[in-house]
Symmetry: C2
């Protein structure tokens, strides 16, 4: 019995909550085995929006198709001795709390981060009586279904959970838990984006930040502005049609994910020169490194009122495609030398009697006002509030901190709500050498590679006062696509991005050593569901929690 | 016309030989376009071994299925104006030189590296007359077919080559051009290995170094020794049967690739303890870092004569599965502390009156003699000749340099033929953080990531005398699988490993900037053939040779 207690303690240390990821914030668990009955059914009590019905169907499918063997030596053979005595669960009843109005999951997910309600309560008895899931919203029900779907293992045809009875009362620490994908440097087909959205939903991420266009290509077909993609995309096959976008938005919404589009301006816009050369300063100027952070050079002629109006109209058109309350207008890496050599910009500035900074302010007001008129909240990269004198209201603007986590404090001190996206923790593309040519010994600018352990150890409120800490909306991993594409998407992102998913759901102060066995579980389950996660360790280690720790 | 000349010069600088990789060592090329006739056929003159016939069929299939658009803006639309005037090629005749005996490609490929004959001569006229390919061996013909298959692009249904007429007289700078895969830390299904062999053959690599077993798992089923895999593999589904091995050996051979197996001894053998605990010292000793470089600890009891005999017999059995002349016996990372705590080893040493080094020498003689009796040449990691007092003949031993390229000189000074496999240039797994647990800020031991540019710039004879330089057999990239698996195999290996393929075929002194456009070509063509290469640059750069150079 002593030995058993020791084993149980070991299990408790290394598998705090079976294999739930992100770890729920409130949980009590027993040590009984529970089988899933062959006639197991999920019943929705009350009216059921279509996307909730679909989520139930997906959960049912995972329960029968995951067939994940537990990650221990024998893959669960040692659990089989408990099957005879274990009760069978035949029912999960899910329902909204009294007084709640059933709305589609997508509707709940597309609210402003601060207004999203994701909490849920899940109870799984071990005596064979029915399990229950309740929440205030369909979005909360989805989160609970996701948790329920992670409880089960397969051994020799028996689907079973350990650690029942189980009661979970859960809600996220932060309302914005995202992932950013750049589809401009390299094009990603719709199927890759949908698979990524699936994976995001399995770890309860709720925000897809779609960096959809950039200087290298403009793959977005915008009604009324179709020349941009027709001439600025890599090819006719590398574009997102309005139908593609609405498919992706709906697919994401049904999985509890909001899609924030980014039309990066006024820099990162060289691709617009393909259709509107009159709007772009210094297109293709050389040497590119003088006029842009990446080739090709080219930025919007922000001092030209026609350009401001064009972008305002463009933004307005794009708002029709994305129901999100958030809309990123970019604002990073503006290069002033590009404007110095651009005669039209210099003429515009002179005529208006403005400095470049003043012109940038006017451009920003015009374009942001177009968004606000449509009820959107502009989101900007940090330079717009740290490097430029742009008048932005703290109430109506959100800030993405990317250059360094050291800059979080300065953004918070200015009173802006902020999103963690710092290159020194969350950039997934770092550490693979330089991609620019003729630079044989060049490094990746954001060396070294950012490990999952590093992101997982991040403190979202480091150096912040209590008041400043409240400004943190959450954070995200990001994949820039200079050296990435559909070929390495899954293994570059997963399971690494699961580390920030747990950090921003469960909250900081996490333990890397304790997390590793659960992260293996995430990784193996993802593979069973078709997402090609990278190996974190030899399988020998994955099957022996703790045995490959440096201290073991 | 001036402008055209400039364009042609530009093309000449950036595409020295269309998109051939590795670049042939002797070539003259014109500037005419040549179309492939719809009834194009490859004819073999003389008797045709089955695997040569199959190689011809594969080449024909690539010609119709690659459909690679040229990597320029418009993807070849600018080439179409030349189609009307271009002649059509309807025939390639391939034949062995007079007096040559037609043998299967596999037979030629499985010879000792020094005896492999891979030279070929390819002539492609631009006037519509037939192309010819001749060689001394079927292996040479295969290499020529591979070159021929890289000449062609597709635009709008027309398959065409640029830069004809073309005459290539080619042969490799080094006879050993390899790739190593570790299938023990993570298991790779047969299909992944075959796809890797395909890719290797497309860049004329000729040696698959199969690090098939290790301390973590023993996936190789060996007739007469089946308990090793039955108890030491990860599972029944993660094993290579004799049929799998013979399939892989045949598949490789038909593609001009020899398979060198590695049974790493006396270290890296903990997996043998699963079936033969009596043969293993310090199995699972903790803390593992004291007794092994990786968990789990455990090494052969090399001072025990029964163990030497067992391994000699095991080696003999394995030689039956692999026709290669080369057989790697490993010999890296032997941990002496493991033996210090192993009472049976200490007793054996005492009884025999030997030091550990003397026992290692005896073990090595016994096991190597078993290989020599079967006509095999033992291959060892560098420690066996640099760190231990083992008697190895320079004539009958080959040495893999892995710890550092700085050690090449010492190996050459001792007179051993050597293979470049240095971690500081050719390890594909470096730079992704630590994989051992409880090491949150740990780095990859072989940081940083090794870029293709770095490997490509390697000098195989740096610091060597002319005589020592002759000892260099060639080299290879390597993929260790602590943090790799089928999920990231393609994008981790390709196109990076193509850099050493060209280095050791074409010879050193290569230019990274000039190579990049051709390497893009390799990468895109691989994708068309089903190998998921990683993106080297944004597609914008891939379509504009030189435009993303740091100096552009």
């Amino acid at each position: 019995m002593k030995l058993f207690a020791l084993v149980a303690l070991f299990a408790a240390v290394y598998q705090p909550v079976a294999a739930l990821w992100p770890q729920p914030r409130g949980l009590t668990a027993g040590a009984s085995t529970l089988k899933l009955a062959s006639n197991f059914q999920i019943t929705v009590s009350g009216s059921t929006p279509t996307d909730l019905h679909d989520a139930v169907t997906r959960t049912q499918q995972f329960l029968t198709k995951d067939k994940l063997g537990r990650l221990v030596v024998g893959r669960g053979s040692g659990d089989a001795k408990n099957f005879a005595a274990a009760k069978s669960l035949s029912k999960l009843t899910i329902s909204l709390e009294k007084g709640a109005t059933p709305q589609p999951i997508a509707t709940e997910a597309q609210k402003a981060p601060e207004d999203r309600v994701e909490e849920y309560t899940l109870t799984v008895p071990s005596d064979g009586s029915g399990a229950t899931l309740t929440a205030k919203t369909t979005l909360g029900l989805l989160r609970g279904l996701t948790t329920f779907g992670q409880l089960w293992y397969d051994y020799d045809g028996t689907t079973y959970a350990l650690e029942t009875p189980l009661t979970i009362k859960d809600s996220p620490a932060y309302p914005y838990r995202g992932f950013m994908l750049d589809t401009a440097r390299t094009f990603f087909p719709v199927a890759d984006i949908k698979r990524t959205l699936d994976a995001m939903s399995w770890v309860k991420l709720n925000q897809f930040h779609w960096h959809i266009v950039d200087s290298q290509s403009f793959p977005l077909q915008i009604p009324g502005f179709t020349d941009l993609a027709a001439k600025g995309a890599y090819s006719a096959y590398q574009q997102y049609s309005p139908k593609d976008v609405s498919d992706i938005v709906a697919y994401a919404g049904a999985r509890g994910i909001d899609v924030m589009v980014e039309i990066d301006t006024p820099g990162h816009t060289s691709a617009i020169a393909s259709s509107h050369p009159e709007y772009i300063a210094c297109p293709g100027a050389t040497p590119w490194a003088t006029y842009a952070n990446e080739p090709p050079a080219g930025q919007l002629r922000l001092a030209d009122d026609n350009v401001s109006k064009y972008i305002a109209n463009l933004f307005t058109a794009v708002t029709q495609m994305f129901p999100s309350k958030l809309f990123s207008t970019g604002g990073d890496e503006l290069n002033t030398k590009c404007y110095e050599i651009d005669a039209p910009t210099q003429a515009s500035l002179k005529k208006a009697g403005k400095t470049l900074e003043q012109a940038l302010d006017s451009f920003t007001q015009t374009t942001h006002n177009a968004l606000k008129a449509k009820g959107k909240t502009p989101v900007v990269w940090e330079e717009m509030v740290l490097s430029h004198n742009v008048t932005l209201s703290t109430k109506d603007t959100r800030v993405l901190v990317w250059i360094s986590s050291d800059n979080v404090k300065a953004v918070a001190e200015k009173g802006y709500k902020l999103i963690h996206a710092a290159s020194d923790y969350f950039y997934l593309d770092c550490g693979h050498g330089a991609w620019v040519g003729a630079f044989p010994n060049g490094n990746s600018w954001c060396d070294p590679f950012k490990t999952w352990q590093h992101a997982y150890s991040f403190n979202p409120t480091a150096n912040l006062t209590a008041a400043e800490s409240k400004l943190v909306l959450g954070g995200q991993h990001l994949l820039w696509a200079e050296q990435s594409g559909p070929e390495n998407l899954d293994d570059t992102v997963w399971p690494r991005a699961a580390s920030s998913a747990e950090l921003f759901w469960t909250g900081p102060g996490l333990n890397v050593s304790a997390a590793l066995p659960r992260l293996h579980d995430v990784s193996y389950r993802f593979r069973h569901r078709g997402v090609k996660t990278i190996s974190l360790q030899p399988e020998w280690c994955a099957l022996r929690p703790g045995a490959c720790d440096l201290t073991a």
